[in-house]
Subunit: 246 residues, 2 copies
């Protein structure tokens, strides 16, 4: 973090830094102190890899994402712990993964307009953007707020700018209802055969990511991803129900 | 958390509460404010399940463990982020999982003497204790400190009472060296056939736990567990090297 990528330097030369600061203040609700942290949070690895140096890779938002992921997980854990005093650990874990999963973070990032702040290598823009670029930038932003403003401020940002305005906890609770059972019922009523295709892939950091597809009479009707087989299947089942108009 | 288990009530009746408070102050370095949180942190589910009520299950330390696990992960993430400014996300993730894995937490809990504070159902004492009871209680304790004293105090507890005195970060860095390669070299030198047996098990919360066994000429010489195949195999390889005196 000792040197900014040239990119940031030129951008600042061009006088865009004030606008960037203002954008951060708008998104986070606080004036940034160390603006370099926020530049880093929005620097996708494709930008620094383009510059070709190994050292440059430390200048992307991946380290901040690692930190922000942890902070986000803690804030949401406490939020759920207090909100559901009579629910058990398994429920809290499931609810948290529904709030902070990849797809949910991508959607939250778009709601905050982070896609306009993310710096990508324009050459591979689409390919890179198609993955979890925005959600990852959101995690990195939480990490930046934590380092820049402390835990309390990061907690406030997560709760007041993400969870409370955009996460419908009540409906998430209800949707923890069993989509797989609903789908089986539907299939039985309509005389269809239903099965799941599952694939697991090890991701960096020792996490398994599962992809489940709902196959209805030999046709894939929906796919879901998650960090457990159950989660992937539930998501796939939920989407299949939507697709089928159930 | 609105009612204490009867157990805690009787214990307090017997005047042991002052000793408990003192033990907590010694372990955490701070006088507890809400002592019920700490009682909860040391209440294994076997004690409350014994009482037989569904509601009672919320009175065990599992919820606090969920919260403490997140807090611990965040504190260690920040610690590593600052300590290794030029290492990438993958290194930080690997190092963190080496610090906060199940076996490491169990060992840390014993060093703090938490086994003397954990309340188990004496009927199934051994069976329960053989698992991760103490490590889980340590996570729950971190959760209790967080709720009782705030993030800064929890961070200080983790860093000054756990990481700095007991975690040899330097040696952990060195041991991220490839044990599997070393083991293969050794096997080749000694004309032995080596393979790994892998089993994965889904754990509550959507996490996969892997068990790897090193099989040397059809004999299991060591076993390791981890949250990724790689981690389990590395640990198994490390232990095999120790067993073989390499």
């Amino acid at each position: 973090m000792s040197r900014l990528p040239l990119f940031g330097f030129f951008r600042r030369m061009l006088g865009q830094d004030k606008a960037f600061r203002q954008a951060i203040a708008t998104v986070t609700g606080r004036t940034p102190q160390n603006v370099r942290l926020y530049h880093l949070a929005f620097t996708h690895s494709s930008v620094v890899k383009q510059q070709g140096t190994e050292a440059g890779r430390n200048q992307s938002n991946e380290r901040l994402e690692f930190l922000g992921d942890a902070v986000l997980g803690t804030v949401v854990a406490e939020y759920l712990f207090r909100k559901f005093p009579y629910e058990q650990e398994g429920f809290l874990t499931e609810m948290r993964s529904r709030i902070v999963n990849r797809e949910s973070l991508n959607a939250l990032a778009l709601k905050l307009g982070l896609d306009k702040l993310v710096q990508l290598d324009p050459g591979q823009g689409r390919a890179a953007r198609s993955r979890s670029v925005n959600g990852n930038a959101l995690e990195a932003l939480v990490g930046a707020v934590y380092l820049d403003q402390g835990y309390k401020a990061a907690r406030k940002f997560v709760l007041s700018r993400l969870v409370k305005p955009y996460v419908d906890v009540k409906s998430l609770t209800e949707t923890t209802a069993n989509f797989k059972s609903k789908l089986i019922e539907w299939a039985q009523r309509h005389g269809k055969a239903i099965r799941y295709e599952l694939n697991g892939e090890a991701r960096p950091g020792g996490v398994m990511e599962f992809t489940a597809s709902v196959v209805l009479d030999d046709e894939v009707v929906a796919t879901g991803m998650g960090l457990s087989k159950k989660q992937a299947e539930q998501l796939a089942a939920e989407r299949a129900l939507t697709t089928l108009g159930v």
